[in-house]
Symmetry: C2
Subunit: 364 residues, 2 copies
DNA sequence: CTGAAAGCGCTTACAG
DNA sequence: CTGAAAGCGCTTACAG
């Protein structure tokens, strides 16, 4: 093989193309020349192949460091067919300002990225909202081995898109997809342990001496979790010999406005109640606002508990008691389920453990 | 070329390898066979090369859709040397719970991802904290064309790492890196227009009739922005013929605790003041807490303005007046600066415009 | 306007 | 334990 010493090519280049002006790039051939071994040995040594002698590996590692060599992942992936990457799609409401995005999903995103990193995977993140910009063909493009989809149930078109995608066959396999927040039950999902969480919230209010507890929720919302939380509340009430009471929210407003209206309606109707369990924190914050506007004191006259454990709950007065999912566990479960699916080892459906975050809004 | 009809390989495969069991994959050769053209024509047609006739392009597009063909990006990138991807590194405090992460950076992350997407780029996101897990060699690995680094100034080791990295030469080029939050001035950065913002906050308090305005800040914090905001406040005070007064924060606590302590110390020292400008919202929220503990009413006795416009500020009582950067602009500027750097066209340093978010904590 | 061919930089059977 | 060679699936000069 003739030495090719053109300025634009690697000195150890094997067959540099004719007139192409590509910047010089250190390749495994350069490292091989530096270490005095073959290119295949460089590849094996750096991949940690145990068949390579330690002396050789040391020489190769040193040469690689000296030349600041790093594997071209595109070449490696083209060859192996593996990407070591997971796509994470965050579904937003169309037209929503990024600042108004539910902070719960941000924490979940962070947790998913951290979990993927712990498992040795990169994360390709995209925020998607408009129907014409929906995209999930990461496996076909060999950009990722699977997809985590998280975000608001409200964006029906987005969920329809990913629901269809999950049915699609990809080159003798299937689309690997795990989600949080889907309105569909036949997508592989991870969710909070809503039943236990709602029972915990309700039991906590009962223990504090509240008995006329109502629940702000929706039975028709695409948010599956809302229904589950209402059911958990209802079951706990029945267990205590009390009658569950549902206060429904009107769609078409922000969660907070829905909560405010629900509380206002409750008071306007002259309902007798001494506590509210709201199925998410944003509803609870709105309800708190509504109660305050009506001059109802929390927690003295009415106790209040939310769900999700968002940061803003810690800043209101009184601070909001809530049910908090284990965020770290949530990210880990999403990633581990997806990796298991990719590996062809299905796992049981999983529920993220929750705990009571006791703050000021629920103790008399 | 002999037809190769093994179950594991593409029917139009060109030279399938011997015993390898790779799942079937649709390639441009399959599309070529389907459309009755050569593989190179498929490549040109799908790349939008104007040299291809529209009739041919239509046939190719149809064949590609029929076979659910998508370009293998690894092969394309290996060939072109371009990735179409930007890395986004979010620097966290080591050991920090993902839930406690400053929400400001989440909104910024979302905005960066959205801006990259609008510019036709993917985003490879990682959250980094521990020194031994710092990693930024995305260009060397050909995973990305450049890096956006955002996050807390507090993690010195992380910033040192990326500072060194930015000096590193990569294969006849340099590391392309733009950041937000760096304690270093020689890293390419984008920041809020802190001077204008601080003047806006101070002017707003003056207009509302407050005159004995103090500023909770730090002159030694690695957060460059704090110094800039203090300077902006001080200049506006001098302009009004008033004396600026700095209340320094003690390091080693959460921002909120620092704010609470600063307010408490101010009261304990018997200082005469009727308004506080805190250089970030988390300090302001803490100060509000401290004032409330001391029985000082806001905004009647003391006015309060923060900086950053975080969501939690809307939920406290009274709601916090703040200076809000244009998040969409922030993401766009970070991405556009980075893309310009990659293209070798340097751009002026840029300041993100800010606006006054007038809520309840600053009107008498 | 289209096709045949080279080559991007790796990994991995296959020999030795 | 190491090397020579094939091939992953594209893009792009080079011919025609």
């Amino acid at each position: 093989m003739p030495e090719d010493k053109t300025a634009t090519r690697s000195p150890a280049a094997h067959g540099a193309s004719a007139g192409q002006r590509r910047p010089y790039r250190v390749t495994s051939f350069d490292v091989a020349a530096e270490a005095g071994v073959s290119q295949s040995t460089v590849s094996r040594a750096l991949a940690g192949d145990p068949v390579v002698s330690e002396a050789t590996r040391a020489r190769v590692t040193e040469a690689a460091a000296k030349l600041n060599y790093h594997i071209d992942e595109n070449a490696a992936r083209l060859r192996t067919g593996k990407t070591g990457t997971l796509a994470v799609v965050v579904i937003c409401r169309p037209g929503e300002n990024i600042k108004d995005f539910n902070p719960f999903y941000y924490a979940l995103l962070g947790s998913v990225c951290a979990a993927a990193s712990r498992r040795g995977h990169e994360t390709l993140v995209s925020f998607q909202d408009l129907p014409e910009r929906l995209w999930g063909r990461y496996q076909e493009q060999r950009k990722a081995d699977g997809i985590v989809v998280i975000g608001t149930s409200e964006n029906r078109e987005a969920w329809n898109y990913f629901h269809d995608l999950a049915q699609t066959d990809v080159t003798h396999g299937q689309t690997h997809l795990v989600c949080w927040g889907s309105p569909f039950d036949d997508l592989d999902w991870v969710r909070s342990d809503n039943d236990a969480g709602a029972a915990l919230a309700t039991g906590h209010l009962l223990d504090a001496g509240y008995t006329r507890i109502v629940c702000i929720a929706s039975e028709t919302s695409p948010q599956r979790q809302f229904k589950e939380r209402y059911d958990g509340y209802a079951a706990r009430m029945v267990e205590a010999g009390l009658k569950p009471r549902l206060v429904t929210i009107e769609e078409g407003h922000s969660r907070e406005e829905q909560g405010r209206r629900a509380a206002a309606a409750l008071i306007a109707a002259g309902e007798s109640f001494d506590a509210i369990f709201a199925v998410c924190d944003e509803l609870a914050l709105g309800a708190l606002h509504g109660l305050r506007e009506a001059g109802v004191s929390v927690p003295e006259t009415v106790g209040l508990v939310g769900f999700d454990g968002i940061r803003a709950g810690a800043h209101v007065s009184p601070p909001l008691t809530s049910i908090e999912p284990d965020f770290q566990a949530a990210g880990t479960m999403l990633v581990d389920r997806l990796l298991a699916m990719i590996a062809g080892k299905p796992v049981e459906k999983q529920r993220v453990p929750v705990s009571l975050l006791e703050r000021g809004s629920s103790k008399r």
